[in-house]
Subunit: 467 residues, 2 copies
């Protein structure tokens, strides 16, 4: 009944290159699992589920309906990779956690890397978290509590607390012997850290350099000096910047006294980079942090807030229009054309805004080049303003056969597109300076300004020169 | 004159944690360099410039004006890290390349990793590229030409052609000895690849496992089986997905016959992930791929195209309005209120669209959950449609003291917000199915639909029930 060719090929027979569809969780697999769950034919899919990579198990769960997810957890909890819990998208993870006993969560959490475990339990409410922590073995609990003691989205939350550090006076041989004997090593690591007597990091050595060096060479001779140190309370976005900027494979996390307390691996940073870029996209699109797995109620509420803010600005624009009711009554062409002026301004403003928000996010827009960027945007606004003024002026004059109408819409267009360019760059810069994430609120401000200015410029010029 | 505390502290005295401003290129450093370049006091900053990390040298160059950039290159070309060229943002890199002789570029390129070198020269025009390749030593040229033979944005372009592969029958000791002797190793690597007699990869071993294993153990005993193979022509977005999904530190690239030909390191994937997320943001914002460093002319042209498409849709909406000229003349309140209906629909559509585009990009939205997602969006559209219909209905009825106007705008609002939700999800899904990047064109389609439907629903209901 079950055709799980795809899943088997990723896990047993090796992967045939050339067909990217073979990776991940194909739709046919999801369907097969859903059908089997519904029919209660669990053994038919047990091996398929077990053989999946933790990330694929998570993806599979994300695609199931709530009812099937419950059946899935009931049937396969024992077969799942504990890490799958940390790979789940937040709202689905909440759903799964609600299905589990605290002891079951504790057992999974105890098997994860500290950073993944912290990530899973950090969003739970206090009492739930306490229950889980109490069920976790002492050593892991201590590490988890240490991780949780740092601020949300900080380096401390992201770090692994297991790492290899050796004193400066060791040789390569001693280091290798130490690694062969130490049982308590992290599962994956790419660098060894060299510390002084106070546990302050003084160097790093990539593993491949250790492998390529003779046993009797001193560690101090082959290490990279002056490693970049990440304070445990540094924001994850800053950490991601450092890792990217300096091509680090792992970042050294230190406490207030500069003592080494953990390390962050590049694969965790990959997730942070993705998350932060995602956040900008979502905020610019007016959708907060909700993805497609969020509940309908939550989604409706999140979007309502944004739409409500937008309604306020739309009403503001309508008030401007209402001041020119008499003018519109005399020339209804104005009502026909006015949305064009507002819409073009809104789009031009959004373009500039998008560039500005991303350039601020990636630290490309700084106080050194702000003035240059502002004047460049203004120039682009003027040129495109003039171009569209000409186009729209001609279209309007021909459409309604009123030459002056062409001039009026052209002038309004130029004004609004320059204003749009300036608003698009100055508002995010201002918010950034005020310490507010420019992605959050910029687009409401910008479109409010372009709507109000667009309608006002067009209608007031029309009132003066046309009617 | 020159206060380069910041740059010194990142390079000589170690970094004091807690002050993120110490990393990267602070504005004060840019100013100091600009002042020194203008005054011709080059020696004052030579050490500062030389000590900077390649990525910081690139950032510094990006912040200089064109005139200072020319002075900078003239003065410091010899002192720069060749990698800085590959760290430069594209338009600034083009500027720098124009300032250099082919021989100078060739010298820099020859010192870079293959993937970085390919990245630098791939965008040059044919004759320029030829000139540079001819000036590069044979061995590097061969590798570069091999890299360039793969399609743009493919795994083949991203890969390093140096890697360590060992046969299955070797021991850990033999592997370590081989690494100690082989001169032609890549600078950084985290895994060793195990291949069969046909050079087909059969396993991978993280370096730390080699270090922790006794010399006489067989490689085959400690390797990870069935590595994930990346065909050289796979799109970089797919590669990034695999690396992220399966937490790979390096990806094995194979040719058509499954022979190992290179590897892609996770730090190169980090750049791809950033690039792809960036692309979605830029496309959704209607700004193509131009950043803040692009020339004013190019920027104006890129944005013009998008704005021109938007003008077309705005005119379409105006044509709809013009059909109801008589109705508006009789009740000017309609002209005042109609932008609200259109704007709310546009925003609601953009919200759904943003979610859909990202969910498609991250493979969270699939054929398995498309139907569920569509109905969820429709429900959210209905609920928010009703909520805003009530709010706006009351506001409109009170504002103009016409009860029926409230009902009309409420009905139009519900219609437009449901249409917005459906358009926001169906259009990106349709484009994706048709093989078109949904980020490119979705937002034009969605706002066209919400404008047209918004104006038409509101004005036609008004024509029927109000005037």
């Amino acid at each position: 009944m079950l055709e799980n060719e795809q899943s088997q090929s990723t896990t047993e027979d090796g992967i045939q290159p050339g067909d990217a569809e073979l990776y991940g969780v194909p739709a046919s697999l999801v369907e097969d699992v859903a059908t089997a769950l519904k029919a209660g034919e669990l053994d038919a899919i047990r091996k398929t589920v077990t053989d999946l990579h933790a990330a694929d198990q998570a993806d599979l769960m994300e695609q199931l309906t709530s009812r099937n997810l419950r059946r899935f957890i009931d049937a396969f909890l024992e077969d799942l990779d504990p890490e799958a819990l940390s790979e789940l998208e937040e709202t689905v993870r909440d759903e799964v956690i609600d299905l589990l006993e605290p002891q079951e969560i504790a057992a999974a959490v105890a098997e994860m890397d500290t950073d993944d475990a912290v990530y899973v339990i950090e969003d739970l409410d206090e009492s739930e978290r306490r229950e889980i922590l109490d069920a976790v073995p002492d050593e892991e609990r201590f590490e988890l509590e240490a991780g949780l003691s740092y601020p949300e989205d900080s380096a401390g939350r992201l770090m692994q607390q297991d790492f290899i550090s050796v004193p400066t006076y060791w040789t390569v041989g001693q280091t290798i012997d130490h690694m062969r004997e130490d049982e308590d090593l992290p599962e994956d690591f790419y660098e060894i850290f060299v510390v002084d007597a106070m546990m302050k990091p003084v160097g790093t050595i990539p593993l491949n350099r250790i492998l390529r060096t003779k046993r009797d060479v001193d560690i101090a001779e082959i290490m990279e000096h002056e490693p970049i140190l990440v304070p445990a309370n540094m924001d994850q976005e800053e950490v991601a910047f450092l890792v990217q900027q300096y091509d680090l494979v792992s970042a050294l996390v230190v406490d207030d006294s500069n003592r080494l307390i953990g390390s962050i691996m590049i694969d965790d940073i990959v997730d942070v980079i993705q998350e932060e870029a995602e956040e900008d996209i979502m905020l610019l699109g007016g959708v907060g942090d909700g993805g497609i797995h969020e509940s309908t109620f939550q989604t409706t509420r999140d979007r309502f807030v944004w739409l409500f803010a937008n309604l306020g600005t739309a009403i503001l624009a309508s008030i401007v229009i209402s001041q020119f009711g008499g003018t519109i009554e005399q020339m209804v062409a104005l009502a026909v054309l006015m949305p064009i002026v507002a819409s073009m301004g809104g789009n031009a403003g959004t373009q500039t805004l998008t560039i500005a928000v991303r350039a601020l996010g990636t630290k490309e827009l700084t106080s050194s080049n702000a003035l240059r960027t502002i004047s460049r945007e203004a120039v682009v606004g003027v040129i495109n303003g003039i171009l569209f003024a000409v186009i729209m002026g001609v279209v309007a004059a021909l459409w309604f056969d009123i030459q002056m109408l062409g001039f009026v819409i052209a002038a309004a267009m130029i004004i609004n597109m320059i204003v749009a360019a300036l608003a698009g760059i100055l508002i995010p810069l201002g918010l950034h300076k005020a310490g507010i994430d420019p992605a959050v609120a910029s687009s409401v401000f910008v479109t409010t300004i372009t709507d109000v200015v667009g309608f006002f410029a067009f209608l007031s010029l029309a009132a003066k020169y046309l009617v």
